[in-house]
Amino acid sequence: MTRKIIFGILAIAILVVGIMGFKRLRFYERSAWVFKTNSEQSFRRGRFERGGNEGREFRSRPENFREGERPDFRNLPDSVRQRMLAERFGGQAPDSLRRGSVRSAPGERDASGERNFRRDGRGRGGRDVRLVSVGWFLAVFAGFTVVTVYLDKVIKLIRRK
């Protein structure tokens, strides 16, 4: 009996975290995304496509960068951005902002011959492993498993009766 109670509490905890992950990852919206997309629709890299809110967790941001400025700033041409950076930071701009266009191809070699993996998600904050979002996916996955296990038990119980 004690074992059953412990497993029950554990299942509820998994379910709660799973629901949180479901909401946080916008699981339903993103699952149904393909049904709302026209096959000939042109590509535009928006917030939703970049991964919604959860994308913020593993995207580093310069400390002195004010909230709300980045989206407009990213869309500016390189020349204008360089000028703005020079005005704002006076040549002391953070390295992440001073580099070339954010739209450059992934893995493209820069002047030093190094590959540019900024769009690959590598090199942001010097970390290659960020498992926060993986944890949320695990929570959702476990949530589905728990729901199925208990639903299966309920169905079996109903059939037996």
């Binding site: 393909v34 590509f43 535009r44 992934p106 690959d120 993986v134 476990a142 589905f144 729901v147 199925t148």
Partner: protein
């Protein structure tokens, strides 16, 4: 017994790989995501081959003698297979670090990206349901439930 242990470890590997692939930025960037995304097909095919006897049996008797649960499992597995195929195919269409342009898959990039996101999210949910339906087997492997002699 050895086969069951192999199946279990292979399934755990498949789940870990699948979770790591859910976010391209989480584990060594897009290069890992794309290569591992192609490689994930191997344990998936292996998983199918290891359970081939069951697949063959249910396929042959699907409309006649199969029980409801087996039918439901079968439909779920077919959906999972479709999801995996779509996931890999759309991944190939939007690949950046591996050049698959010679395949000329057509369609807009937006469509393939939407397809990739949706198929992977739906497949993850189906994986969870699949595991839930085989929970008894997992419990037996971890000795949480006594196996009937």
């Amino acid at each position: 017994m050895k086969m069951n242990k192999f199946k279990l470890s292979q399934n755990i590997l498949l789940i870990i790989l699948m979770l790591l692939l859910m976010d391209p930025r989480s584990f060594y960037g897009l290069t890992f995501h794309e290569w591992a995304g192609l490689i994930i097909g191997v344990p998936f095919i292996l998983h199918t081959l290891l359970n081939w006897t069951w697949i063959k049996k249910v396929t042959l008797h699907f409309f006649r003698r199969s029980v409801g649960r087996a039918r439901f499992n079968y439909v779920l597995d077919v959906l999972l297979l479709a999801g995996m195929v779509l996931m890999i195919l759309s991944g190939i269409a939007i690949a950046r670090t591996i050049d698959f342009s010679w395949l000329n898959l057509g369609g807009s990039r937006m469509f393939w990206r939407a397809m990739h996101t949706s198929s992977s999210f739906i497949s993850l949910a189906l994986f969870g349901i699949h595991l839930g339906l085989h929970w008894k087997w997992v419990k037996q492997r971890f000795k949480l439930k006594k196996v009937k002699a």
